[in-house]
């Protein structure tokens, strides 16, 4: 597929900072890809997300070098409001994103901004409501729903605008594990059913690793690693050095690989890891009297 995002030698320094938040970033993202971006706090992930949506440089003061191109055009070249039709962003704070007084009004807000007609709105509303499982929440005001539910509303509201690129900036960092899982369930469905390009910035890798096609590591404003997911996680030492904590099961299998017990593809989920482990143990365990332990 054709590249939809092209970043060339991009640097950004906030006017109040001494060091650039992003330094010399070169990145190409193909349309339809599901990309995960990880890195320690302060590495520039949010800055990168905002740069893709045009929030930087329009809302923030600083110095830009290099280019950020969406669909072949620089972000600054888009007239006000036009880029947001192409690139949608879901932020990390569920409270600060909910601007209306009921869930339905929130979902509809973006569509109204686009100037869609009532029938079009109705159709898209039904679609995102079903996708994000919000049917029973439509009439509720924000103070009656949980943080996780608010994030699903935010996701659906942005999705309803059918952007070609969806960026989610730490969408689950303020949520409990159940809500987190439900948000990722929506992303799974999105990946299967739609052809949006999806970029997810996260700390929590357990859910992300199995979904992303490609992963990016940012640290101190620099892009240290960008690769297909399995290959990415195989560079475990680089990840650990940069403060990333891979999921326990993955780390364990990696240790097995390091010590020579296993030499195949790195598993990304618990199930895959269990299968690996079973196979390794079967291969290596000394044959003996049938050990029916468990």
């Amino acid at each position: 597929m054709a590249p939809i995002i092209e970043i060339q030698n991009y640097s950004w320094r906030y006017s109040y900072a001494k060091m650039p938040a992003l330094n010399g970033i070169n990145l190409i993202i193909e349309e339809g890809a599901f990309v995960g971006i990880i890195g320690p706090n302060g590495s520039g992930k949010t800055t990168l997300a905002y740069s893709l949506d045009g929030l930087i440089p329009s809302q923030y003061r600083g110095i830009k070098q290099g280019a950020v191109n969406i669909l072949g055009r620089e972000v600054e070249a888009y007239p006000a409001g036009a880029l947001q039709k192409l690139v949608g962003v879901v932020f990390s704070d569920p409270e600060a994103q909910f601007t209306a007084m009921t869930v339905e009004d929130e979902l509809v807000f973006g569509m109204e901004n686009l100037g869609l007609s009532v029938p079009e709105i109705r159709e898209r509303l039904e679609w995102v409501t079903e996708l994000a499982e919000l049917g029973h929440l439509l009439e509720k005001p924000p103070y009656e729903i949980s943080g996780g539910q608010k994030q699903r509303v935010a996701l659906a509201a942005v999705l309803a605008m059918t952007p070609r690129v969806m960026i989610l900036d730490e969408p689950t960092s303020m949520l409990d594990p159940v809500s987190r899982k439900r948000v990722f369930d929506v992303l799974v469905r999105l990946k299967e059913e739609q052809r949006n390009t999806i970029i997810v910035i996260e700390h929590n890798l357990e859910n992300l690793a199995s979904l992303a096609d490609r992963m990016i590591l940012l640290s101190n404003g620099e892009l240290l690693l960008e690769d297909e997911t399995h290959a990415f996680f195989e560079k475990m030492d680089l990840l650990l050095e940069n403060g990333i904590h891979p999921p326990g099961a993955m780390l364990f299998i990696h240790r097995l690989m390091q010590e020579g017990y296993y030499a195949s593809r790195l598993p990304l989920t618990v199930d895959e890891a269990a299968a690996c482990l079973t196979e390794v143990v079967a291969r290596l365990k000394p044959p003996g009297p049938a050990s029916s332990r468990g």
Binding site: P40, A273, A274, S291, G294
Partner: protein
């Protein structure tokens, strides 16, 4: 677990909100000095409500909370907070003085300690959280998030409570920051003898630091015991909608191979593996 009397006793506590919802029902819990505990459970399970009953912010609608021999219902809040400190999740909800020094001094001043005592406590608390003196005159609002959290913790430590409850210490933090704050809490627990209770969703952190886990759901305690034990009960955990840490899940999935379903760390798993294939 000490054989001495518990520092906090929760006896048959129930809590009902003014609008009628029951947040806690029939809670019984003993907390001893020197414990490192985690309260886990889904949002709405009652873990925050229970914690707030422990330091007197909430009074149970029935039952008693006895802290250091004092009943929370008949004890003033300033007496309670000297014994049980509560650090809120978002430091911004707590910080409002114009400089860090006054911020940390706020608690001791509230309980009307003499000023020399206040000075000593502030210096001590700042040292323990690793807040450099250069920050003393800074406005908390402008500090980075990690520093703000430390100032918030210091402001509670200055009250020198024996028990410190921290709400979501690692949410929104990256891996390194999470470990820093948890190592610090572990040090408070081991070296200084504080009882530490964390309310959290971060299971790997619980596995690594907490020695006892109280899992809650729908206002009840569903499991209460040593960490490995609680994590190895998948049925109970399912009720609380908690998933054990990744490595524990792997161990449980491979139970039939001989792995301990209560495995908490990668190192432990590795050790078991080597024993198995030796």
């Amino acid at each position: 677990m000490n054989a001495e009397r518990p520092f906090i006793r929760v006896v048959n506590v129930s809590y009902r909100y003014p609008d009628g919802t029951e947040a806690l029902s029939g809670i019984n819990l003993d907390i001893y000095q020197g414990e490192f505990m985690a309260f886990v459970g889904q949002n709405g399970s009652g873990k925050t409500t229970l914690s707030k009953c422990l330091n007197g912010l909430f009074n149970p609608t029935s039952g008693d909370v006895i802290v250091d021999g004092l009943n929370s219902k008949t004890t003033s809040i300033s007496q309670m907070v000297r014994r049980v400190g509560y650090v809120f999740q978002n430091p911004d909800h707590q910080l409002f003085n114009s400089n860090c020094w006054d911020e940390i001094a706020y608690g001791p001043r509230n309980i009307e300690l003499p000023e020399p005592e206040v000075k000593t406590r502030v210096a001590e608390a700042a040292r323990v959280v690793g807040l450099p003196e250069t920050y003393f005159g800074e406005h908390p609002f402008f500090l980075p998030k990690g520093m703000r959290q430390r100032v918030a913790i210091a402001s509670i430590l200055a009250l020198q409570p024996k028990v410190i409850i921290v709400d979501e210490p690692t949410t929104g933090q990256d891996a390194r920051q999470s470990l820093e704050i948890m190592d610090f809490l572990a040090d408070l627990n081991q070296a200084q003898g504080h009882t530490v209770i964390i309310i959290t969703h971060d299971m790997p952190i619980v596995a690594r630091y907490a020695r006892r886990v109280v899992a809650m759901g729908s206002g009840r305690i569903l499991a209460d015991g040593p960490t490995a034990e609680v994590f190895s009960q998948p049925e109970t955990l399912a009720e609380t909608f908690i998933e054990p840490p990744h490595i524990t899940q792997l161990a449980q999935r491979c139970r039939s191979l001989g792995f301990d379903p209560g495995t908490l760390t990668v190192e432990d798993m590795l050790r078991q593996f080597k024993e198995l294939v030796a």
